[in-house]
Symmetry: C2
Subunit: 555 residues, 2 copies
């Protein structure tokens, strides 16, 4: 008992009060175990941003302690930030075979494959580090090869479920490792961190198998070509589409870059089973009768650049929708994507396709546990402390209430925020300060060079455009040598507003004259007067507030 | 039978393949009857646009035939464009009492009240025009005083349902006028235009009364203050909140401009019943114990400027959320608003409020008919021709299929697009050409001065910002007198990118030098070279594509 004062620290650097960007540090003495390292897709008001990654300053400042990054599964929101993070923090990455297979494709694109140490693990493997060890435990999710991660510390086990659901009839036959969860629960789990995504949904998430039955039913009836859009990473869904195709003697083609990549990886690693002669190239689809062709494609979220959206907009190089096609959208729109998906559905209908989507049939199930499954996890693990993760505040709060309804004492529930330092030992858990955390914007090649000022300007520009005022002044006596010229973009349609622009020039001229008379040589003052006068003038005339950019050149 | 060749024309100028902006012209000989005149809220990519209204060029070109605008109910998507349209087309407006009461507030704001002829009608009223007459028929919807409109022509009745649902236990006791619909159906209806909004939903929409029962249940249990957010126009919902408040001896205060406006109008016109001493001002809420206060507020869609969002963000001047408050969001997020609503829910939870929202209780019902109600309308009216309206293409198509499943012949179904001219007589219906239709953007004071070019620029600016290049050249010999200066906004954070900007200046200098040497005096050519060179340079360095605006001044 010489480490009486030692504590386990749990530091979430992302994934709380947000969807995505999952990353959590579990720290004990000279070990920092990092669980997952995901990206987030930008909110609508993050104009021009490609992706958002977590701020890992805390890990960089404690580089020598970070013993590895441990992955729960291969979704973007759990592995997508790795290509950026590994450039700054080159540590071993542990994951199951498919997870690392998917990661490899990414690392190759970023030229990081040769410099990264990837360590393949399987469920029940235990990795011994300095003073802790890390164990992987089989779970089910909407991607194959998902695991929970248990960090064994001298003070007890910290168990992170990752994303999970309970599927008694999973496609690969590998159920959640109930026995191991129960065993850990029996020995005593110090803290459980569990997925809160579906906590608002009562009951159980249906088995993936239900979707396969729907495919079989639909494939049996459809006479034309079948196009199924789903998430590229949902290998089990893809396997079921293949099974249904086999049952009805159809060939399968794959469309969309991420779908092609993942299908290839999954076949190579043995996660997808398909006879060679059944899988045809997208160029070959026209060699077969329509009723013998199934196309699996990306674009189930209505992403404008994805294959399905291109087909819907008659913009796909190789596939044209024809009357008699049946399109199955095997996904639910992620909040924020409803309008995009709806647009694609409308376009497909207009082109004469039949479209089958979630509100009409059982063609999608969630990958996350609903209330009864979450209760089962609590009942198996019986944690001393409970920390809901993966969700917005509403989800975390309700997950906490669910645990309390099963007997968790209120003081043993912690609702964290990104950057919180949670310290726990056998007798207590509490917040104790915080570390830097946050979001780093990736825009083109720039990582972190776009900040709030740039974003604020983009937003401002998007609302009413920009009005640029240029004038050349004499250094000697302030007199106007050329200009003022006024050029606007995104403000008004200029041809119809010549009068307005002439009046605006007059406003600027007056300011210039006034400054010349008063001999104001301070360009900053002059610019701010131009900005103020022009702003009020334009607002009065148009009730719009364009960005005003005065530029003074002196000769 | 001298008008053998006369035809009824149905011309939708808005509301098809979109949600909102509802307006339809029914034309027979020298009568054009306009049904509704609504606005649409801008899509996310319509940057800076306040509202979208229909293009009414067709009506303006046939001004002398337009005999009136006939309103089905008082929602924005049915009356919201009137203040703009009436300025160009001053015709009488017919509507029920509450509909016109709500409209009056709007017309007052636009200074149009004195010049507009408003004619109050009630269900079963018939307005005789030149060669047609217009009849109003009671329906149910999520706003009181809604009606369907029947245009009686010598060729038969054209019946437009407006937005509707079937409610056997409506709050005001006034059921849909089943008898009149059936009577028209018996006599023979030439064409039915019916609301398709909820066609994807099986079964029946629940009665508004169900929501009242939920309120009673919740109000009985809650011990603190109650805040209910709902649509301002849903008078029946508001009445039920008042009833529940009365039952438990609570006072009611109202917050949010549109809520205050409509509640006032509704009380004045007798559509809302509340004892004077029960309704308190928002300034008085602190004079009563928390458990005696109910606040009815706007913001159920998470609109950032609405009262509830302000409370959630601690930004409301008069109401602060305190622990113990219960907030009821009595609405479902309209597609596209999910994230905004979710943000408000999270903020309210964080402040310690309990939040009750749709996924947790029966606190909202739709105002639109589901499949079984739509079938009832078909069965009552038995139209010769059927034209689904109010919906995206997917809804129109499925509504058509619903009608055909009840026996409508395929050739008697018409799916229209905005601007189509549909011609019908007793023996046939067909599309026959089209008129100009479309969307007019309202931005500040400008109506129609923002077009696709301006919007495209705003979108472009929002992605990667703008880079302005200014240079003053000598008129004589093309030599550079001042500059080049480069100023960017929304592109990169300038302080961190000085090097990049210096290099960019060098790129511009080279172009200028080259042009000076070649004696190029054509500024357009010079500008386009600067733009091209700078674009490739910046893309190579950053993989971003800012708008590039070269400005040349000459002296």
């Amino acid at each position: 008992m010489k480490n009486e004062k030692a504590k386990v620290r749990i530091i979430p650097l992302g994934g709380l009060n947000e969807i995505g960007k999952n990353i959590t540090a579990i720290e004990y003495k000279n070990d920092i175990v990092v669980i997952d390292c995901g990206l987030k897709f930008p909110d609508e008001d993050m104009f021009g941003i490609d992706i958002v990654i977590p701020d890992i300053n805390y890990l960089l400042n404690n580089k020598e302690k970070v013993t590895g990054i441990f992955l729960t599964h291969g979704h973007e929101d759990h592995i997508g930030a790795l290509p950026y993070v590994l450039k700054q923090l080159n540590v071993p990455v542990y994951g199951t075979r498919l997870t690392l297979g998917i990661l490899e494709t990414k690392l190759k694109e970023h030229g990081l494959l040769s410099t990264t140490e990837l360590i393949i693990v399987k469920p029940r493997d235990v990795i011994k580090l300095n003073s802790v060890s890390v164990e992987f435990i089989k779970t089910n999710h909407s991607i194959a090869d998902s695991v929970a991660i248990a960090v064994h510390t001298p003070l007890g086990v910290v168990l992170h479920t990752g994303d999970f659901k309970i599927d008694y009839t999973p496609i690969d036959g590998q159920q959640t490792d109930f026995a191991r969860f129960a065993e850990l629960g029996k020995k005593g789990v110090l803290a459980l961190l569990a997925d809160s995504t579906n906590v608002e949904k009562p009951g159980y998430t249906m088995s993936e198998k239900v979707v396969g039955e729907s495919f079989n039913r639909i494939f049996a009836k459809v006479e034309g070509r079948i196009i199924v859009a789903t998430f590229a990473s949902n290998i089990h869904r893809i396997q079921q589409i293949i099974e249904a195709s086999r049952l009805y003697g159809k060939k399968v083609a794959v469309s969309g870059r991420s779908m092609e990549n993942i299908v290839q990886v999954a076949i190579e690693l043995g996660y997808l089973e398909i006879e060679e002669e059944m899988l045809i190239g997208i160029d070959q689809i026209n060699k077969y009768p329509n009723d013998k062709v199934v196309i699996i494609t990306t674009g189930s979220q209505g992403e404008p650049m994805a294959a399905l959206s291109r087909m819907a907009a008659c913009d796909h190089r190789k596939i044209s929708i024809v009357k008699g096609d049946t399109v199955i959208i095997s996904a639910t729109p992620i909040p924020g994507n409803e309008k995009l998906v709806s647009k694609v559905i409308n376009q497909l209908f207009k082109q004469g396709a039949e479209v089958i989507y979630k509100s009409l049939a059982d063609i999608h199930v969630s990958g996350h546990a609903c209330q009864e499954e979450l209760k089962l996890m609590q009942a198996l693990v019986k944690p001393r402390y409970f920390i809901p993760v993966h969700g917005e505040y509403r989800h975390l709060k309700q997950h906490g209430e669910l645990a309390m309804s099963l007997g968790l004492p209120k003081e043993n529930l912690i609702i964290m925020e990104n950057g919180d330092i949670i310290e726990a030992n056998r007798s207590a858990i509490k917040k104790n300060g915080s570390v830097i955390s946050g979001q780093i914007f990736v825009d083109g090649l720039g990582v972190g060079d776009v900040g709030n000022i740039v974003l604020r300007d983009r937003k401002y520009l998007s609302q009413d455009g920009i009005v640029t005022v240029v004038v050349t002044l004499s250094r000697e006596n302030n007199s106007v040598v050329a200009g003022p010229d006024i050029i606007s973009r995104g403000f008004v349609y200029v041809r119809e507003s010549e009068g307005l622009m002439d009046e605006a020039k007059e406003v600027v001229r007056k300011v210039l004259l006034n400054c010349e008379e008063k001999n104001i040589k301070d360009w900053a003052t002059l610019k701010s007067r131009i900005r103020d006068e022009l702003r009020s003038f334009l607002y009065e005339k148009t009730k719009r507030r364009p960005m005003i950019l005065p530029i003074i050149m002196e000769i």
